[in-house]
C-alpha cells in the first residue's frame, strides 16, 4: 500500500526565540500507509498532541518535512492549507471543540458548509446518519452547549467524518466516554476505516484500545520508542 503521509526528521521547539526554548519533538520519522488504522500512545507531555497538530497543518514544525500524498506541505499557501484541512483531513480534538452557538446537526454540517458546496438532501441525510451512528439520534437540534461532554465528543466524531476525509486525526477521541461507549466508538471508527478506506491516526492513553489497532506507535519524551505493526 502506498504511503499517504510521510514525516521526515520532524523537530519542534517551543519558544525558539526566547530565553528558555523547550524542544518537544526530536527528529520524528514516520510513514503512514493509506487506509491504515494507527494509534499513538505515550505519557502525558511526551509530545503526542504537538505531533498531531503539526501533521494537521495547524502548527508548523521547527525542522523537517511533511509529505501528504507525496506533496510537500511547506510549499502550500495558507489558503491551500485551509482547503486541505477541509477536504482531506478530519479533526477530533483532545478538548472536543464544538461551536456552542450551533446545534449538533449544524456542527456536523459545518465542514461541508465551509467547503461552499450546495446543501443537498443527501448531505443532510448523511449528517443524520452519522449522528445516529454515534448514538445521538434525537439530539440533532440540541444546542452544542446543552450536550454533555461525552455527547459533544461524539458530535465531534460525526463532524470529522462528514466530508469523507482521507485522514482522520483524533486526539483522545474517547477521553470522556465510559468503556462501553468507548468500545462502540472504536468499532465505529474501525468500520468507517474498512468501508471508506479512511486512514486513522488516533492518540490514546488506553493500551487496551491501542492493542486493537493495526499499528501502535509509542512516543517517549519526543522520540519514537516503539513502533509495532501487526
Amino acid at each position: 500500500m502506498a504511503d499517504i503521509l510521510t514525516l521526515k526528521n520532524i523537530t519542534k521547539t517551543y519558544g525558539e526565540n526566547t530565553k528558555n526554548p523547550t524542544q518537544v519533538l526530536f527528529g520524528i520519522d514516520l510513514n503512514f500507509e493509506e487506509s491504515s488504522f494507527n494509534s499513538i500512545i505515550g505519557q502525558s507531555g511526551s509530545g503526542k498532541s504537538t505531533l498531531l497538530n503539526i501533521i494537521g497543518s495547524l502548527d508548523r514544525p521547527s525542522g523537517g518535512e511533511i509529505f501528504l500524498s507525496g506533496k510537500d506541505l511547506s510549499v502550500f499557501t495558507n489558503k491551500e492549507l485551509a482547503d486541505i484541512r477541509n477536504q482531506y483531513l478530519g479533526f477530533i480534538f483532545q478538548f472536543h471543540y464544538l461551536l456552542p452557538e450551533f446545534s449538533a446537526l449544524e456542527n456536523v454540517l459545518m465542514p461541508y458548509k465551509i467547503s461552499k458546496k450546495e446543501l443537498t438532501k443527501e448531505i443532510e441525510d448523511r449528517a443524520y446518519e452519522l449522528l445516529e451512528l454515534v448514538d445521538l439520534k434525537g439530539f440533532e437540534n440540541k444546542l452544542a452547549t446543552n450536550l454533555s461532554g461525552g455527547q459533544q465528543q461524539r458530535v465531534a466524531i460525526a463532524r470529522s467524518l462528514i466530508n469523507n476525509p482521507k485522514i482522520v486525526l483524533a486526539d483522545e477521541p474517547t477521553g470522556n466516554l465510559d468503556s462501553d461507549t468507548t468500545e462502540k466508538v472504536y468499532n465505529l471508527l474501525r468500520e468507517i476505516n474498512k468501508k471508506f478506506k479512511t486512514t486513522f491516526i488516533i492518540i490514546t492513553h488506553d493500551r487496551h484500545i491501542a492493542e486493537k489497532t493495526d499499528r501502535v506507535i509509542e512516543i517517549t519524551d519526543g522520540r519514537i520508542s516503539l513502533d509495532i505493526k501487526k
Binding site: 495547524l58 479533526f91 478538548f95 471543540y97 456552542p100 452557538e101 465551509i114 463532524r159
Partner: protein, 383 residues
C-alpha cells in the same frame, strides 16, 4: 459569503443582550446626529422663511415706472416654472395728516388678488378689512395710535409732488415688523395710479418662488425672457448676504458636530467588535481548523458590523425623528407655534443612516483583519 453571513447572524442572535446593547449604542449616536441635523435644518429654513417668506423674493424695479405693463407681467410669470406668484405694485411716498397730527408714510398700491399670496394681508388684518375700491386704504397698526384714528375715518394724503387726496380707512394690519407697521399704507393699485395721474403704470414687479435657493437661475431666466439686460432686478439672496452667510456657517458647524458624532460612533463600534473577536477566538479557531478561509472568517465580522449598523441606524432614525418631533411639539413659543418648526428632510435622514451603516461596516474592518491573523494553535492546544 453566505456562510460568513449566516455565522455572523448566529453569533449576534446567540448573544442577544450584548447585541441589543451595541445596537442601542449605535442608535443613540445616530439619533443625536439626526436630531441635531434636523433641528439645524429646521432652524435655517425657519430663519429664511421668517425673513423672506412674506416678501418679494425677486423684484424688478422700474425707475421711471412702466406703462402698458400687462404683457411684461405675463412674460415674467411665464419666464420660469420656479415662479409661483407675480404681482405688480406702485409705491409713492408722502404724509398722512388729520387735524393735528402728521406722519410720513409709504403709500403702496397693490393688486390684492396676487399680492395677498405674497404678503398675506388678508391674514394680517387685525381690525376692519382690506380696501376694495379706489381711495380706500388699510394702515399699519402703529399708525392707528400715532394718528389717533379708527376704521371708517377719513384722512388726507399729501405730498409736494402729487398734492392732496382724501382717503377712507377700512382697516389696520399687523405685519409683526415695527418699521412696516409704522409706515405702510396699502391701497388698490388704481388709487396710486390716479394720484400720479399718468395713466396705467407700475413701479415694481414682485414675485415669489417655489425653490428659493434657485433664485439666481430664475433671475437669469427672467432676464432672458424679457431680453433686457439693463433691468434693475434683485433677488433675496443678493439682498440678504449676511443672513445667507450666517446660515451657511451654521451649516458648517452642524457638519462638524455630525463628524464628531460619527467618529464617536465608529470608535465605539471598533472597540465593541474587537472584544467580540476576542470572545469568539475559540469559535474562529475551530472554524479555521475545519478549513474556513481567512477571507470568510474576516467577512463574519464585517457582516456583524453591517447588521449592527443596519439595526442601529434604523432605530437611531426612529429615535432621532421622535426626539425632533417631541422637541418641536413641546418647545413652543407663547403663541403655541413651535420655536423651531419640524422639517423632515428625508435626504438628510437617509444620509445619516447611510453614514452610520458605512461607518459600522468600516469599523468592523480592523477586528476582521485581526481575526484573520488569529493563531489557531494557541486555542486548540490550551482548550
Amino acid at each position: 459569503m453566505k456562510l460568513a453571513f449566516s455565522i455572523a447572524k448566529r453569533f449576534l442572535m446567540s448573544a442577544k443582550r450584548h447585541t441589543i446593547v451595541i445596537v442601542f449604542c449605535i442608535a443613540i449616536g445616530v439619533s443625536i446626529q439626526v436630531f441635531i441635523g434636523l433641528l439645524l435644518t429646521g432652524l435655517g429654513n425657519s430663519l429664511i422663511d421668517s425673513t423672506i417668506g412674506s416678501s418679494s423674493q425677486i423684484t424688478i424695479t422700474y425707475e421711471d415706472n412702466l406703462a402698458n405693463y400687462n404683457s411684461t407681467v405675463l412674460a415674467v410669470s411665464e419666464a420660469s416654472d420656479n415662479i409661483s406668484v407675480v404681482t405688480e405694485t406702485l409705491t409713492i411716498s408722502g404724509a398722512l395728516t388729520n387735524d393735528t397730527l402728521t406722519e410720513n408714510i409709504v403709500f403702496r398700491g397693490f393688486n390684492f388678488d396676487t399680492a395677498n399670496q405674497i404678503y398675506k394681508f388678508d391674514y394680517l388684518i387685525v381690525e376692519g378689512q382690506l380696501p376694495t375700491s379706489n381711495n380706500q386704504v388699510a394702515l399699519g397698526i402703529e399708525l392707528k395710535e400715532m394718528l389717533d384714528i379708527n376704521v371708517g375715518d377719513t384722512i388726507v394724503y399729501n405730498s409736494t409732488v402729487f398734492g392732496e387726496e382724501v382717503l377712507e380707512i377700512t382697516g389696520f394690519f399687523d405685519f409683526n415688523v415695527l418699521a412696516i407697521n409704522q409706515s405702510w399704507v396699502i391701497t388698490p393699485l388704481t388709487t396710486v395710479q390716479d394720484i400720479i395721474g399718468e395713466g396705467d403704470q407700475i413701479g415694481k414687479i414682485e414675485m415669489q418662488l417655489d425653490e428659493v435657493d434657485d433664485d439666481l437661475e430664475t433671475k437669469a431666466a427672467i432676464v432672458a425672457a424679457l431680453d433686457d439686460d439693463t433691468l434693475d432686478i434683485v433677488t433675496w439672496s443678493e439682498q440678504n448676504g449676511d443672513l445667507l452667510s450666517s446660515i451657511s456657517s451654521q451649516q458648517s458647524s452642524s457638519i462638524l458636530i455630525q463628524v464628531c458624532v460619527i467618529i464617536s460612533v465608529i470608535l465605539s463600534i471598533v472597540s465593541v467588535l474587537s472584544i467580540t473577536v476576542l470572545q469568539k477566538s475559540r469559535q474562529l479557531s475551530i472554524l479555521k481548523a475545519m478549513g474556513i478561509q481567512d477571507k470568510d472568517a474576516s467577512f463574519i465580522f464585517l457582516f456583524e458590523g453591517f447588521l449592527l449598523g443596519i439595526f442601529g441606524a434604523m432605530l437611531g432614525v426612529v429615535f432621532g425623528v421622535g426626539l425632533t418631533y417631541a422637541f418641536t411639539t413641546f418647545a413652543v413659543g407663547s403663541d403655541g407655534s413651535p420655536i423651531i418648526p419640524l422639517t423632515l428632510d428625508y435626504g438628510f435622514i437617509a444620509l445619516s443612516a447611510g453614514i452610520a451603516l458605512t461607518a459600522s461596516t468600516l469599523a468592523a474592518l480592523s477586528p476582521a483583519i485581526k481575526s484573520s491573523k488569529l493563531s489557531v494553535i494557541e486555542v486548540i492546544r490550551n482548550g
